[in-house]
Amino acid sequence: MTIPISKRVENLAPSGIRAFFDLVLGMKDVISLGVGEPDFVTPRRIREKAIHSLEDGYTSYTSNKGMIELRREIVQFLENRYGLSYDPEEEVLITVGVSEGLDLVARAILNPGDKVLIPEPCYVSYGPVVEMAGGVPVFLKTTLESKFKVTPEQVEKACSSGVRALMINYPSNPTGASYSKKELQAIADVARRKNLLVISDEVYDELTYDFEHTPFATLKDMKSQVVYFNGFSKSYAMTGFRIGYAAGPREVIAAMTKIHQYTMLCASITGQIAAREALHSGLKAVAEMKREYNRRRRFIVDALNDIGLDCHMPEGAFYVFPSIKKTGQKSMDFAQGLLKQEKVALVPGTAFGSSCEGYVRISYASSYENLKEAVKRIKRYMKG
């Protein structure tokens, strides 16, 4: 028999990107600039802590919201780092990566037809989590010319009836774009006037190069309408541990916890213990990784512009999002051609939204040697 699939799932944008990914995975000796994770392994002390916890028999469930010790330490960390204060009992939830958190918040706040503003290009899951929760994503298109930043005017103009929230990610995957405090304040003013809940995914906060990162919740009078998301994947190179967290108004966290307890139950205890160690000892490693990324960022932006791919200097994360419009090719064709002819993998911009045709995402979380070789090959590909 054919098993009918739910309309909601069937209607999710099919991922043309899947086929491309399969193609990459089937090939050998590829230089990959296509990864969405650090190329470092988790710092050794963090790994050791996880190993010891297993040896000591920490293999159980934790509280639904996550270990209270970890929540307390996160609260302490946010207080020290950003002067943000939350109640660890009621206002923090440990999630299986930020990805789970975004799904939870969408399901917790949206009624059918509610709209969520999402600056585009955006991380691949933003649209789908809103749709799966019955909401309607409204994409606000940004371009290279605006350095991929959404403007307060765009947000204001898009605030028709039924718009409930703004889902924003800075520094951004895939563009690396981030916002100064002043730029954020202008957006916050609109959000306050329009009563938008701000869903702020700040998982790349530690990788901000040109100015200090400003959490949305620290902006004047905003905390009560911001749900702050962060995690350990990117800053501490812990993607496989799958630990993120949400901090925000207690009613939202309570609603998210309800869904989390029925679906995920809790994040893995090993990951949570490793996350605690990251908070204790990881910042030095973060600083080292950041210095290294910053060098590669300068190199790659310069090199891409040199070979004729227009590329802006991103403020954070480890991605650049150059335009390939000059080549006259579509993103997917460019990516496939480059892969087949020169064995360099990158991600077609179209993975990150329909308005991202003509761009590709390049991750510079790869060794300097690899980056140099990849640029050489891209240049050759563009000539040929």
């Binding site: 990459v24 296509g34 990864v35 060098r295 310069d302 991600v347």
Partner: protein, 161 residues
């Protein structure tokens, strides 16, 4: 450590032009800084780490760690004897250490015999040397922070969003 030194310590072949791009400074200022490091002896030398085990066309060379006990001399302490020891071309490295002996000397030779001869005829009889203990090196796993085995990194996906 200064960023220039950090980069060169990892890969001495990165050019001043590249370093300038990586750290966002002018090529001139990078060249000047490197020159100063060289003059001050902060940068001693640029060399290559070779995994001798993989060189098939020549007979493998032999290395030994030698513990050397010496008699300190008036005024110059251990320095004088150390200087005479590290002057031998066979000596790759020579360090004064704390503990039950004084100098840790690394020696390289064509085979066990040549290293043994060096110890017996040159090192041991030297004035001021009270005793030696020779440890032949069987296998080297890591040198200067560099793991010598070629990494076969299959841990990560080639591509991910």
């Amino acid at each position: 450590m200064d960023e220039i030194l950090e980069i060169l310590s990892k890969d001495a072949r990165v050019t001043p032009e590249e370093i300038a791009k990586l750290i966002g400074k002018s090529v001139d200022s990078v060249k000047k800084a490197i020159k100063k490091y060289e003059q001050d002896g902060v940068i001693v030398k640029y060399k290559t780490i070779v995994n001798h085990e993989l060189i098939t066309q020549e007979a493998p060379r032999v290395r030994a760690l030698i513990e050397v006990k010496i008699l300190p001399e008036k005024d110059v302490g251990f320095d004088h004897v150390a200087e005479r020891i590290y002057g031998f071309p066979e000596v790759l490295s020579c360090s004064l250490v704390s503990g039950s002996y004084d100098l840790l000397v690394i020696v390289e030779g064509e085979n066990i015999q040549t290293v043994a001869n060096f110890v017996a005829s040159k090192l041991s009889p030297m004035e001021g040397v009270r005793g030696t203990a020779t440890h032949f090196l069987l296998k080297q796993y890591k040198e200067d922070g560099q793991v010598l085995k070629k990494a076969n990194d299959k841990r990560k996906l080639n591509i991910s969003i």
